[in-house]
């Protein structure tokens, strides 16, 4: 018998392992995404890191008497040296950002999670209405909610003394801390992202096998114990994911703190980052961006530690035919009315406010004699001297912006949704492996980077020698959107796949069902609406994103949202309000069409 050579002994297990590795589609997907994400997701990170240690042209070059591009750590010295500069530009804003991000995260989960529970697990009345309108705030750009907040609560005793709706109607003047500062920032960001908590947590709750709770009931556990010991642990991954998303968004929010904090001189890290970059202290600005990423990483680490600790969150082991709803009994109508009032205030009132603001000539005057439709359908002859040649519905520039934004949202959703589902599948199937952890983290990474810093970095990339063909193109907008919004879809994908027991797919594998059929015929139908959230969330995100696109569009009125920001910046409040309404309307149409075609929609608590 021929003795095996030492080399072949070594080679055969290696080949065998390689073959076994390649045989699993999840592995191939992970390798593919690892490569793509390493290039696209880490590229901005590397660029940002190098910016923290280099001298830029302008002020830095002159102040430190060095050449552009020289390596240095002076930016760290300056930002952390102590004294007023550090306090004002870093420590105070850091404290404010942490308060806002944490507060908004908790508030968002409390509100969104509670409503998700009522909608999915109770016999609450008017569910369709409540769930339908509750998602509106998420469709609006966060800063439009901040504008709504000031429109409502500003009063003659704070800020510029402009009378808001509450004072106008009820004669009540809210205190300054309520109108401006950290409190309204937390509320606005929390409210804005609470539908997100509702979508993610609601999806899990809706899919949850009712027998789990029923078993607890049989064992005489009371309602609170069931929520605490059964429901919350099951939705914990979604809660942590949601907290991570809201925290990171709140931490990197720029426009909300500008609108609600400036009046009381309350600044956050992103506002300081922009001010420093604008003043030419780019190195320090990027350090701040890096620090906000670090905080996000800590939360991400906690999230991963938690989901890693609990080996399984499987809740779907075959669909439960039973839906057991908690009976609210006498509390049903009071809770329903309270929720209707609440959702109307946070969701419908802003729309009414924007509608009114879009038809009044003189701010604060809501009389009929002050109303006009010129900002909607005015012609050149009758429109105001406002920089537009007609009302927005008659303006070709506006319709071009609408077309581009919708096309961008749909294309991005297609790419991001599919990628998110595949990442979710592969990460869950190979859960615990280094490869899976790397891909999951990298897919999430861009979310932690402030949109403004992301835009600046991609501007630099797109104008560099090898990539200049990208600058000003629609393709660049698709690329940055795909990278920036992949985290939504990948989290959604991971969360939904975590719920599906591997045995279901294994059974199909034993019967020789090929991978693509397993995906299309088994996994996708089981978690259809949860997976669809991975497609729909990027639509909303793209439809309302501003900061990411500001630097990358060829002109400010290229997209609908950049046009909106331009209107608000230049004081065309009526046009701004009209465009905001239009954005919400478009998102609602997309939502409605999706609902008609697939049965899934935001208001059904995507994921279920």
């Amino acid at each position: 018998m021929r003795k095996p050579q030492p080399n072949s002994l070594l080679r055969e297990p290696l080949l065998y392992r390689l073959r076994a590795f390649v045989a699993k589609p999840a592995n191939l997907l992970l390798v593919f995404f690892l490569f793509v994400l390493a290039v696209l997701s880490l590229l901005p990170m590397v660029t940002m890191l190098s910016n923290m240690f280099t001298i830029h042209m302008g002020i830095e070059k002159r102040q430190y008497r060095m050449s552009t591009g020289d390596w240095t750590y002076v930016h760290f010295q300056k930002l952390f040296e102590g004294g007023d500069w550090s306090r004002v530009n870093f420590w105070e804003p850091l404290k404010n950002s942490l308060i806002v991000a944490t507060g908004a995260g908790i508030l968002g989960i409390l509100i969104g999670g509670s409503i998700a529970w009522f909608i999915t697990r109770s016999d609450l009345k008017c569910k369709k209405f409540i769930s339908g309108v509750f998602v509106f705030p998420y469709m609006m750009p966060a800063w439009t909610l901040a504008l709504f907040w000031t429109n409502m609560f500003q009063n003659s005793k704070v800020g510029g003394g402009n009378v808001g709706m509450i004072e106008s109607i009820f004669g009540v003047c809210m205190p300054e801390w309520f109108v401006y500062g950290l409190f309204p920032m937390i509320v606005v960001i929390g409210l804005h992202y609470s539908p997100f908590a509702y979508l993610l947590i609601g999806g899990i709750l809706k899919n949850m096998d009712a027998t789990l709770e029923e078993s607890a009931t049989i064992l005489k556990a009371n309602r609170w114990t069931i929520i605490r010991r059964v429901t919350i642990p099951i939705v914990m991954p979604a809660i942590l994911s949601t907290f991570l998303l809201i925290f990171s968004s709140g931490f990197s929010s720029y426009t909300v703190p500008v609108f609600l904090g400036s009046a009381v001189k309350t600044f956050t890290l992103p506002t300081k980052m922009r001010a420093l970059i604008q003043a030419g202290y780019e190195g320090q600005g990027y350090i701040i961006a890096f620090i906000s990423i670090l905080f996000g990483c800590v939360i991400l680490g906690i999230n991963q530690w938690f989901t890693g600790k609990r080996k399984s969150f499987t809740t779907v082991t075959g669909k439960s035919g039973q839906v057991s709803l908690v009976k609210l009994r006498k509390a049903n109508w009071p809770i329903t009315i309270a929720l209707i009032v609440f959702t109307c205030f946070v969701a419908v009132m802003p729309l009414i406010s924007f509608a009114l603001e879009s038809i009044i000539r003189q701010p604060g005057n809501y009389s009929f004699s002050n109303m006009t439709l010129h900002f909607w359908i005015g012609t050149e002859a009758s429109a105001y001297e406002t920089g537009m040649i007609a009302g927005i519905l008659l303006n070709p520039t506006m319709w071009e912006g609408v077309g581009r934004q919708v096309l961008l949202a749909l294309l991005v959703a297609l790419i991001v949704g599919t990628s998110g589902m595949l990442i979710g599948y592969s990460c869950v199937r190979r859960r615990g492996s280094r490869l899976s952890r790397s891909v999951e983290s990298m897919a999430f990474f861009p979310y932690l980077m402030p949109a403004m810093a992301f835009g600046t970095i991609y501007l630099a990339v797109a104008t560099s020698e090898n990539f200049r063909w990208m600058y000003g193109t629609f393709g660049l907008l698709i690329l940055v959107s795909v990278i920036k919004f992949l985290p939504f879809a990948s989290r959604s994908g991971v969360n939904s796949m975590l719920q599906i027991a591997p045995e279901i797919e294994e059974a199909a594998t034993i019967f020789g069902v090929p991978w693509h059929k397993r995906m299309i015929r088994i996994l996708f139908p089981i978690q259809k609406s949860s997976i669809l959230s991975g497609y729909l969330l990027p639509v909303i995100s793209v439809m309302r994103e501003v900061a990411l696109f500001t630097l990358l569009v060829p002109k400010p009125r290229y997209l609908l949202t950049t046009m909106l920001f331009s209107f608000n910046e230049t004081g065309y409040a009526q046009y701004g309000s009209a465009v905001t309404l239009l954005i919400i309307l478009i998102i609602m149409i997309i939502n409605w069409v999706t609902n008609k075609l697939t049965g899934a929609s935001f208001d059904k608590g995507i994921g279920g």
């Binding site: 042209m57 302008g58 002020i59 002159r62 102040q63 007023d84 500069w85 306090r87 004002v88 530009n89 105070e92 003659s156 800020g159 510029g160 003394g161 402009n162 401006y180 500008v258 400036s262 009046a263 001189k265 506002t271 922009r274 001010a275 970059i277 604008q278 003043a279 030419g280 000539r361 003189q362 701010p363 604060g364 005057n365 001297e385 920089g387 600046t456 501007l459 630099a460 797109a462 104008t463 560099s464 020698e465 200049r468 063909w469 600058y471 000003g472 193109t473 500001t550 630097l551 060829p554 002109k555 400010p556 009125r557 331009s566 608000n568 910046e569 230049t570 004081g571 065309y572 409040a573």
Partner: protein, 389 residues
């Protein structure tokens, strides 16, 4: 032979259209353009257009779009593509796009914030200055290098619902009475505002502030906590200012419809954004009484041409146009609004506007000096930024 000659002729024509290809840099082309008449420039510009060029230009002022439309009506064979650019992002975008070879990047721009223009574009060789010889007599020398196409002023304007503000000395705005009642855009976000504050530290304005101080408090200013009178003023002023409004337009409309007695320091031309019914609520402090110290500030909009433009002659002709009466005072152009002033002394403001000519503002407004701000920016920025909060 005939074929050869026609080929040669075509080649010569093509080469003559591309200055850089002939060894004529953009800088050389602009130098040549400065000596040409508008008719000659138009011919050259038409050649640039027929070679496939179009003039892409950025501007921070929306009136430039109207000027561009008027320009194209006057010179129908030329094509200008206007893009509004956010003041905050102007130099960030320009430094990355000029010379990068990206498609349809700007050929020229009308930008504010002179010190950044100098630091980021002129000193780095990314932009060139251009000024026509023919205009040298009608435009002051300090508005030629780089060319200033318009001045814009920001004025102290208040809500007169409580009667007169009785502000006759600028130091009053640093006193307790005005705490949170002076509205001003955050200077760390608004470059022209920080430039104005830096200008106050110049010897000239420091002296004027000392004079106003002595007049207000009956004693000469003395060095103590602050190294200069201007720094003490900035400290007191920033302690009182309110940053509620994030744009000049919102500030104008907000003060007009807000609490009586509030004062704003914002762009004069934004009064056009205030509804007619509220316009009467606003009083321009300078028109009510002379203010010891100053009653606002003035900053220029500069025109520069970028080093990689393919149409330097079109750019030159457009700048000529902006400096001319036809360009500046044409249909719906700058001159039709309050608060815009041409450096061309022959262009007067329309008499029916509540405004004054450029010369009127020389004594009462703080003018931006690019060189001084550039020199002092690092020193004073830190002082201001730590007081903004």
């Amino acid at each position: 032979m005939k074929r050869f000659l026609s080929l040669l002729l075509a080649l010569m024509m093509v080469l003559s259209l591309v200055p850089s290809a002939m060894g004529e840099s953009v800088e050389d082309a602009l130098a040549a353009a400065a000596k040409m008449t508008n008719e000659e420039l138009y011919e050259k510009a038409k050649e640039e257009m027929s070679a496939g060029a179009q003039l892409n230009f950025y501007s921070t002022t929306s009136f430039a779009e109207k000027a561009a439309n008027n320009f194209m009506a006057a010179y129908p064979e030329l094509k200008l593509v206007y893009a509004e650019i956010d003041d905050v992002e102007t130099y960030n975008i320009l430094t990355k796009t000029i010379g990068s070879g990206v498609k349809d990047s700007a050929d020229m721009a009308l930008t504010q914030n002179g010190p950044d223009l100098k630091t980021y574009l002129l000193d780095e060789g990314l932009a060139h200055v251009y000024f026509p010889e023919a205009m040298k007599d009608v435009v002051a020398a300090d508005a030629q290098d780089p060319a200033i196409v318009t001045y814009i002023n920001s004025l102290l304007i208040y809500h007169n619902g409580n009667g007169s503000a009785n502000v006759t000395n600028i130091w009053q705005l640093t006193e307790e009475e005005w705490k949170d009642k002076v509205f001003f855009k955050n200077p760390t976000n608004e470059t022209v505002n920080i430039n104005f504050l830096i200008m106050l530290t110049s010897p000239e304005w420091n002296a004027k502030l000392e004079e106003a101080y002595a007049s207000r408090y009956g004693k000469a200013w003395e060095k103590g906590e602050f190294d200069s009178c201007a720094l003490e003023f900035i400290d007191g002023f920033l302690a009182n200012v309110n940053y509620t409004y994030t744009s000049a337009s919102k500030m104008a409309a907000g003060i007009a419809s807000g609490a009586p007695g509030n004062m704003g320091l914002f762009v004069f031309s934004k009064l056009r954004k205030v509804d007619e019914a509220d316009r009467g609520n606003l009083t321009i402090l300078q028109f009510e009484n002379k203010v010891e110290g100053f009653s606002g500030f003035m900053y220029p909009i500069y025109a520069t041409v970028f080093k990689d433009t393919e149409c330097p002659y079109t750019c030159a002709l457009f700048i000529n146009y902006l400096l001319s009466e036809e360009g500046f005072a044409g249909n719906k152009s700058w001159n039709s609004s309050q608060g815009y002033y041409s450096p061309n002394k022959s262009i007067l403001k329309p008499e029916d506007l509540e405004d004054e000519p450029y010369e009127y503002w020389l004594d009462c407004l703080v003018f931006e000096d690019m060189e001084y701000i550039d020199e002092k920016f690092i020193e004073v920025y830190e002082f201001i930024a730590t007081r903004v909060g």
